[in-house]
């Protein structure tokens, strides 16, 4: 008898994430890959990797839901899509069933979502049309500083005197950074300043409640940003087990909780 599994596919502008859960909502398989230009191929590769981790096959999939920037582009296994805002909310509430503010820092955009104690969204905001405060901002700055994204967290931690970046425009910030390099500022201090700038941009998007959860790739790869954010708001930040996968987990939970009789057949036919 096949297992009863549910898949969430989060096709982000920068990374594709897949989560496989069982009926109890346990995450039993997952994968993250660069979205690249062939969304379908990336999605398929992520799905196979997560199924392998779960020790399952496509025949075990009962239902699947897609989300994220490319949610409508990927037809395989999914019949239904939800927005990433809905999925982040669902994923976070699964881990923290209380009134929370979710701060998601993704590759291309940021989101702030407020949930009431029943898990209902009371409001949400996405950043506007610029890169300020997103992963794209950090990527751009890392390339200006000629360092890798992976190094940033470690460098920021070593900072002794953080650089203050005043502008919220990526181009203006880059100028500020270049000027600091010319003036002999240490890379560690610059990187910490960049982290600080990201958090500030996000916090000015909306009012936040008492309990704050952070998610997204930037958060997953830079735990120091989470510590800094906690210091800035004066209380610890809560993190789901795999912050980058929260949207995918939310999508998988939608797949589990939705009406999926119809999809069962479709999913199997397609596998």
């Amino acid at each position: 008898m096949p297992k009863q599994l549910f898949v969430g596919l989060d096709m982000g502008a920068s990374r594709t994430k897949v989560a496989v859960i069982d009926q109890d909502g346990q995450l039993i398989g997952h994968a993250v890959k660069k979205s690249g230009i062939d969304f379908s191929a990336t999605a398929a590769a992520c799905l196979d990797a997560s199924l392998e981790m779960a020790g399952a096959t496509r025949a075990d999939i009962v239902n699947a839901v897609s989300t994220g920037y490319g949610r409508a582009n990927v037809a395989f296994v999914t019949e239904t899509s939800k927005t990433e805002i809905g999925c982040l909310a669902k994923g976070c509430y699964h881990y923290f069933p209380e009134a929370i503010t979710i701060i998601d820092i993704g590759g291309q955009d940021n989101k702030i979502i407020n949930l009431d104690s029943a898990g209902r969204r009371s409001n949400f905001k996405m950043n506007r049309k610029c890169a300020a405060g997103t992963g794209a901002f950090l990527e751009e700055m890392a390339s200006r500083l000629d360092i890798s994204l992976e190094e940033m967290n470690g460098l920021a931690r070593q900072s002794e005197e953080m650089l203050k970046i005043g502008s919220y425009c990526t181009v203006f910030s880059a100028t500020e950074v270049l000027e600091s390099i010319r003036n002999g500022k240490k890379v560690t201090d610059i990187v910490k300043g960049l982290f600080y700038s990201v958090i500030k941009r996000v916090l000015e998007m909306d009012a936040i409640t008492e309990r704050v959860v952070m998610t997204g790739g930037v958060v997953a790869h830079n735990p120091y940003i989470v510590e800094m954010a906690g210091e800035m708001i004066g209380r610890p930040i809560m993190l789901p087990p795999l912050p980058q996968l929260t949207g995918a987990v939310g999508a998988a939970l939608y797949a589990r909780d939705g009406s999926w009789q119809q999809t069962v057949i479709t999913a199997r036919e397609k596998s």
């Binding site: 409508a72 019949e79 927005t83 805002i85 809905g86 209902r120 409001n123 506007r128 049309k129």
Partner: protein, 415 residues
């Protein structure tokens, strides 16, 4: 929610008649400008059009022309030409699109109406700053370009209650326009004709109001997107019998839809209010986006801005002044909030969308905390989307789509 499903809004039959009267209007305007059989006045959308019409001017509305540039998606290519001569990308993109198009010698009128080669050259430019300062700067550019007089009304702004002092002020300013207009038109103002024009404007207004209020029905027989197109005659033909006749026809069709239980959007399940300008180059996409989600954007501040109930044929000057002052855009946030709150109740709205138009602060009512205040007061969820009326460089389709879909999800889950 499946993203596949498409649910397009239904076409209104009256559209053909509207197109006919708009065609006659544009050819008439062109005729006036090319043959000189009538003097041409340019007027801001809520400028003293009644006076101009009564004095025999053919009246051109540059905002209407700019909206056409937007709706035909020509505007974004025109704007840079105006930016290059010093008109910032941060100011009104009606202004920059219109002036840019002029600089490039392009007009959507030529495409839509064979034989029309350019916008009608003005004999006088008449503005009212009740909506913004940009209109004055916009007209001033053309006044220099064509060496024609520019006159207008400098309106009080941010008004809580329209007082008799405000009305006195604007009345005197309208009256002061008359001598110049008489000089340019070559004839004296005929008060009977003015009364008649004001009366026709009032009739047009009443009908337009009734048209918009048909959307109080469930399902609503029209959408905001229909409204932005069908308000054309209320903007450019107010004060004429053609506009009145047109809205009688449109109203009858909408009433028929109500009687038959026909909605503009299939299976309307959510009722949305739109505050702010439309994104002209995205009318179709936005209309399809909402219809596909079974949400009807059925009422708006924008379309309702052409309701002027103060018009009174017995007292034309003062009533014009009052009408131009009572306008939503001229009012304080306290008034605006009260107004929107009433609209939300009247149209039984589930959610409100504020369009934060990058280049039009005057029509972007989200910038001083209003969405938060109104949401707290009414419990009706709000969404702000960033965009612009004409400058598509400021529009992110993907962000709009995700925002709207997430908002509709939120409303559905909260139901």
């Amino acid at each position: 929610m499946t993203t596949e499903q498409k649910n397009i809004r239904k076409k209104l039959q009256a559209t053909d008649q509207m197109n006919r009267i708009m065609t006659v209007y544009f050819y008439g305007l062109n005729e006036a400008a090319t043959s000189g059989n009538k003097k041409v006045a340019w007027c801001t959308s809520v400028g003293p059009a009644e006076l101009l019409r009564a004095m025999g001017f053919a009246v051109h509305f540059p905002e209407n022309h700019a909206a056409m540039l937007g709706a035909t998606r020509m505007s974004t290519d025109m704007i840079p030409a105006a930016n290059a001569i010093g008109y910032s990308p941060d100011i009104c993109s009606y202004l920059t699109a219109d002036i840019g198009a002029y600089l490039k010698g392009i007009t959507p009128l030529s495409k839509a109406y064979k034989g029309i080669e350019s916008i009608p050259k003005p004999d006088v430019l008449v503005y009212n700053t009740n909506q913004c300062r940009d209109v004055q700067d916009w007209f001033a550019w053309y006044a220099r370009e064509f060496s024609v007089p520019i006159i207008g009304i400098t309106s009080p702004k941010n008004i809580n209650e329209v007082s008799s002092a405000h009305i006195d002020d604007v009345t005197r300013q309208i009256e002061a326009l008359v001598p110049t207009l008489e000089l340019i038109s070559g004839h004296k103002l005929d008060m009977d004709r003015l009364r008649e024009t004001v009366s026709l404007s009032r009739q047009c207004t009443e009908l337009w109001k009734e048209v918009l209020e048909t959307a109080t029905a469930t399902p609503a027989p029209l959408t905001f997107f229909d409204g932005t197109i069908h308000m054309g005659p209320a903007v450019v033909l107010r004060g004429t019998p053609e506009a009145v006749e047109y809205y009688q026809v449109l109203l009858a069709e909408l009433k028929q839809r109500i009687a038959e239980g026909v909605g503009a959007v299939e299976d309307e399940s959510l009722r949305i209010y739109w505050d702010g300008m439309p994104v002209w180059g995205r009318l179709r996409q936005h209309s399809d986006l909402f219809a596909g989600l079974k949400a009807n954007v059925l009422a708006s501040t924008y379309c309702s801005s052409w309701i002027f109930q103060a018009f009174d044929a017995q007292d034309p000057f003062r009533s014009m002044a009052k009408a131009y002052l009572e306008l939503f855009i001229v009012r304080s946030d306290a008034y605006k909030e009260k107004y929107i709150k009433e609209m939300l109740a009247k149209f039984r709205i589930d959610g409100i969308i504020y369009h934060d138009a990058k280049t039009c602060p005057c029509n972007s009512n989200n910038r001083y905390g209003m969405p938060q205040r109104l949401e707290a007061e009414t419990g009706i969820p709000a969404l702000v989307i960033s965009g612009d009326l004409n400058d598509l460089r400021c529009v992110s389709d993907e962000q709009t789509k995700t925002n709207v879909e997430a908002f509709i999800e939120q409303l559905e889950e909260g139901k």
